[in-house]
């Protein structure tokens, strides 16, 4: 039953996205930057979703350390993985977009650079988990690292933006340009669709994590017998 709900929600999210993409493509081009400006419809929702994922991961990590309940650990890892996937999509599309406009694969745009550093940070979280066999130790250490990582996120964003200010002006994806009010509707739909998609992916991952834990403990029990 739960699976069916998840599938339905997933399809709904994708449908909203597809319809929205269609609508956005038909919108008139923005005055200063043309068609490339429309990336803002995707990049900003994805960035917000990724930041939300980081915050939820922090919450899960802290709750695990306090309660020792593994469902919070499962939440933390599921949310981090989904957030990483979204962020990776952002980096790749951002790179391709940059190639389209400026002919370079990587333009050191402040937002994308921060996204890259945050991606490395949370990829480290996953690598750490992979390096620890024992589930309680793995969950504890991963939670500690998640706290360190989350604190770093604002510092990273802030310092890279600053660094970019000091250097000669770099190409920025959407510094200028106005945002017509009727576009807000599409933006919000995209935002909703992204979040929904994210939630579906987290839910799927959570079920998988539950099953994995059961297998692990059965395996240990088998060894003892």
């Amino acid at each position: 039953m739960r699976e069916k709900i998840l599938y339905v929600l997933g399809i709904v999210a994708l449908a909203i996205l597809a319809w929205n993409i269609n609508a956005i493509a038909r919108l008139p081009q923005e005055a200063q930057q043309g068609v490339t400006f429309k990336i803002i419809f995707f990049h900003v929702p994805v960035a917000i979703t990724a930041l939300t994922a980081a915050a939820v991961a922090l919450l899960g990590s802290v709750l695990f350390l306090v309660t020792k309940n593994f469902k919070y650990d499962a939440l933390a890892v599921a949310v981090t993985e989904v957030g990483l996937a979204f962020l990776a999509a952002n980096l790749v599309t951002g790179s391709i977009w940059g190639r389209e406009i400026w002919g370079v694969w990587w333009a050191w745009d402040a937002r994308l650079t921060s996204a890259l550093v945050c991606w490395l940070l949370y990829a480290g979280y996953l690598m750490l988990r992979r390096a620890i066999e024992e589930p309680t130790q793995r969950a504890t250490f991963a939670a500690v690292f998640s706290i360190f990582a989350f604190i770093d996120v604002p510092i990273v964003i802030f310092s890279i933006k600053w660094w970019q200010n000091l250097q000669h002006p770099r190409p920025v994806f959407w510094a200028g340009g106005s945002f017509p009010p009727d576009w807000t509707r599409h933006f919000l739909w995209n935002m909703a669709a992204m979040l929904l998609l994210g939630i579906v992916m987290v839910a799927v991952r959570l079920r998988q994590e539950e099953a994995q834990r059961e297998i692990d403990s059965l395996r240990r029990m088998a060894h003892v017998l």
Partner: protein, 226 residues
């Protein structure tokens, strides 16, 4: 025994052990020299370009050579199960952490203070014009490196692939601190004192140090005992 006395005892123990064996410190010195040498092949070290990259180059040297020292920090407690004895002793996890961090700070600083003159010689750069401000930046940046490196050394001490995991986890977290330290160092080596725009980097470094020292002190018991 008071908290700071405990910190001192741990720091002295680590320093004495390291000075006697010189394992990490020798490797660290050698590594720093090698990197400085390699970079001089990579770029043509004429005066102009070097000034612009001095901050970046120096902090890459410090971060990579420093990792060799930081890795040893908790790893040196593994043979003979000494870590057990330290955890069992009536000292707080915070004192253990701070003592080790202090020892690491001194060791890494020693490597840095040797690397600076070597850098000056290889690249023909006068770096002493803003000497005390440079020392301040060095201290702040090295403390950032040390704090994160020491707490993650505790985190990774018992896990697989420790030598790989430590740099993988530490460097991304350190990005803002290294960025700030690099900017400040480039300016100071070039002879420009810390001005109103660059003062903000200094504040960020101080903030980074304070926040992560606090977080580490709070979480170290969890890392050591669970």
């Amino acid at each position: 025994m008071g908290f700071f006395r405990q910190v001192f005892v741990i720091a002295v123990k680590d320093l004495r052990a390291e000075i006697r064996t010189k394992e990490a410190i020798n490797a660290s010195f050698a590594f720093a020299l090698v990197i400085l040498l390699l970079f001089s092949f990579a770029f043509d070290p004429s005066a102009e370009t070097t000034r612009e990259i001095s901050g970046g180059l120096l902090w890459i040297v410090f971060a990579f050579a420093g990792a060799l020292v930081l890795n040893r920090s908790f790893a040196r407690e593994l043979p003979n199960d000494c870590l057990d004895a330290l955890i069992a002793a009536p000292i707080s996890g915070a004192a253990l952490f701070l003592g080790k961090a202090l020892a690491n700070f001194l060791l890494v600083s020693a490597v840095e203070l040797v690397s600076l003159p070597v850098f000056g010689i290889f690249y023909n750069v006068r770096w002493t014009s803003q000497f005390w401000e440079l020392m301040l930046v060095l201290a702040l940046g090295t403390w950032a490196l040390t704090v994160i490196g020491t707490i993650f050394s505790a985190l990774t001490v018992n896990i697989r692939l420790r030598e790989v995991m430590l740099p993988m986890l530490t460097y991304p977290i350190l990005v803002p601190a290294l960025l700030g330290a690099m900017q400040l160092t480039t300016d100071l080596v070039a002879g420009r004192p810390i001005g109103p725009d660059t003062a903000a980097w200094l504040k960020m470094l101080i903030g980074f140090d304070v926040v992560y020292t606090a977080v580490s002190l709070v979480l170290v018991e969890t890392v050591l005992v669970g």
